[in-house]
């Protein structure tokens, strides 16, 4: 593929299809690392994962290994986990607390701020051989949104607030419904032989699959009862800058999936009144309904079930999934554990719902090894004419949560970024109501 590839050729929002090659081709994947993951704001960690000075957590932005570390002044720095001398990783732990990192190869040390410090046997270097400021690992820009730490290596990228845009209208009901949130300690990490986008797009808008694919899982959690009929009235897709939230307004369908009466009562008696006071009736009805959410490019969560995850790309045919449980800090310990147990029962590789998902995404991906198969298109036409204007809901809104709308807009954003030579080339495709756009 040449430099001038137009990535909009891989999607068609009029006919409603996506080209399968974007889930398979190495060249497209390499372009994703450059155009999506080297530019986008990406999730690093939740504040509660690294609360103390010198706490660190290691993760990836695309396939670039990074360390997120809490500084003395309370801020977080994010920098490449690669020694500038010969390139080896200088931190091999998933998390911990350290005043410095020392590369195993030659003993170069790095402060918790990521700056190059003392070298082992430093006397072998002559005066002027090395400028330590210049030879420190690359640092990312870091910004936070309500406890979520994000980073980007692109100095030109818009602010995180602008990147999230009016999606914050929705995010607030999850991350600020009753004070600060926190993650339960630990996470479950797993691989699937699937393209990363299949995980993201499943959470961004695919309520449809739940009815069929998760029938057995829901029955397991809900005393043998499956989903009710698909309700399109009072349910929506909302898309902002490639982020997507699909939701109903029944108020409790996702909470029921967790199978905990104590959590259900807590949502009804504590959370919903708080949301209603703070954000109004509509959002108090949205929270807890059948819903799923993804943030562009690779974070997902389920409000009311409280699983939170990041999809890390590991090549075009493999992803690493990191799963967390998110709760409110001020919840009683018993409620936090009810939520954590419900997440564990449903959404981890052993969960009664997640077990079925991985199978689908691997299948979606691996069939594309067939040359002829991957020349065929995938259908994304559900609800293609259902766009509406809504007086209260910001973003690009479609009626009916059983819809491919958020998926279509996710891939549109994907193509916008894949094509962009600068941020001026990236259009704002929704009409902002709450966000000032600077670019």
């Amino acid at each position: 593929m040449s430099e001038k590839t137009d990535y909009h050729q891989f999607i068609d929002n009029k006919e409603g299809w996506v080209d399968r090659r974007i889930f398979w081709e190495e060249e497209i994947y390499e372009q994703e690392l450059k155009q999506i993951f080297a530019k986008s704001w990406q999730f690093i960690a939740h504040d509660s994962m690294i609360p103390n000075t010198n706490d660190f957590y290691t993760t990836y932005m695309g396939e670039d290994g990074v360390i997120g570390a809490r500084q003395k002044d309370g801020s977080v720095r994010v920098f490449l986990n690669s020694c500038p001398h010969r390139g080896n990783k200088f931190c091999f732990a998933d998390e911990g607390n350290a005043r410095s990192f020392i590369c195993n190869y030659h003993g170069w040390s790095f402060g918790i701020d990521g700056k190059l410090g003392a070298l082992a046997n430093e006397h072998v270097y002559d005066e002027g051989d090395i400028d330590k400021e210049k030879w420190s690992p690359k640092q990312a820009r870091v910004e936070t949104y309500k406890g979520l730490i994000f980073a980007t290596f692109d100095q030109e990228a818009p602010s995180l607030d602008e990147w999230l845009g009016d999606f914050r209208w929705y995010l607030d009901m999850m991350f600020d419904n009753d004070g600060e949130t926190e993650f339960i300690n630990g996470s479950i990490k797993s691989y699937a032989n699937a393209n990363w986008k299949f995980g993201v797009e499943n959470f961004i808008g695919d309520a449809y699959h739940a009815l069929w694919n998760h029938d057995s899982g829901l029955k397991a959690m809900n005393n043998g009862e499956g989903f009710g009929p698909a309700v399109q009235d009072g349910s929506f897709h909302a898309s902002v800058n490639g982020h997507g939230w699909e939701f109903g307004t029944d108020g409790y369908a996702d909470v029921v999936i967790g199978g905990s009466e104590k959590w259900l009562n807590y949502v009804r008696d504590i959370i919903k009144p708080k949301i209603k006071d703070k954000y109004g009736e509509l959002r108090s009805n949205i929270f807890g309904s059948l819903a799923s959410v993804s943030l562009f490019p690779n974070i997902s969560f389920l409000p009311g079930i409280q699983t939170f995850r990041v999809w890390l790309p590991r090549g075009p045919k493999k992803l690493e999934l990191r799963i967390f449980t998110i709760v409110n800090k001020n919840m009683p310990e018993e409620i936090k554990q009810e939520i954590n147990n419900a997440c564990m029962m449903t959404f981890n590789p052993a969960g009664v719902l997640e077990m079925d998902d991985g199978e689908n995404w691997e299948g979606n991906t691996q069939v594309n090894k067939g040359y002829l198969t991957r020349q065929e298109k995938l259908h994304y036409g559900c609800g293609i004419t259902r766009e509406i204007e809504h007086e209260e809901l910001p973003g690009i809104i479609y009626k009916g949560q059983f819809n491919d709308a958020n998926q279509r807009h996710f891939y549109t954003r994907w193509a916008d970024l894949m094509n962009a030579e600068s941020w001026d080339d990236v259009p704002t495709r929704y009409k902002p109501r709450h966000t000032k756009i600077t670019k």
Binding site: G186, S190, A194, M344, A350, M355
Partner: protein, 177 residues
């Protein structure tokens, strides 16, 4: 087997060790042959089936996982029955065709506990899972169990499983370990 006057400390007798091994093999067979209700029957009602999350940390940062942390499993009987119910619904598409699994149980050590009816049992479970057209996965877990003698029969009362894998290498964990 009738209740024998086992000592409250020291190594288990060959007879007891043999009985425990046979129990673990029978359990493995139930799991391999998908006899999940038979499996539930050899668990105590207060079963705790736990497989905590894994992280790799520096040795100086080592911490033991707790039951309040993230976990693959942190189940009581109610939750285990839910998992079995999923397989019974008739709509569990990913298990049809069925997964083929082999549990090899080894490294069995039996210890007495302060409770004369309970034994602490260490074992290694090595699971070969073959599914779909040709997918094969190896899952190895270190198990620490409490077995309890109820009405003369051994039952599993507690299980903690520690995986070798830091990142779980598969899309799903659809076999009990």
């Amino acid at each position: 087997m009738t209740k024998s006057p086992e000592k409250s400390a020291g190594p288990a007798s060959m007879e007891l060790t043999f009985e425990v091994e046979q129990f673990l093999y029978k359990e493995a067979r139930f799991l391999d042959t998908e006899e999940f209700h038979a499996w539930l029957d050899i668990l105590t009602d207060d079963i705790h089936y736990w497989m905590p999350y894994r992280y790799q940390r520096y040795r100086k940062n080592h911490v033991e996982p707790t039951v309040n942390d993230m976990a693959y499993y942190n189940d009581d009987m109610h939750n285990l029955k839910r998992r079995v119910l999923r397989n019974d619904t008739g709509t569990c598409w990913s298990e049809d065709p069925a997964t083929r699994a082999s549990h090899a149980i080894s490294n069995v050590e039996v210890e007495h506990t302060d409770n004369p009816d309970e034994y602490k049992v260490y074992s290694l479970t090595t699971v070969n899972r073959n599914m779909n057209e040709d997918e094969e996965h190896l899952i190895v877990g270190h198990r620490t169990d409490i077995l309890r003698r109820v009405n003369g029969q051994l039952k599993l009362a507690k299980r903690k499983i520690i995986l070798d894998q830091n990142i779980f290498m598969n899309k799903s964990l659809n076999v009990f370990l």
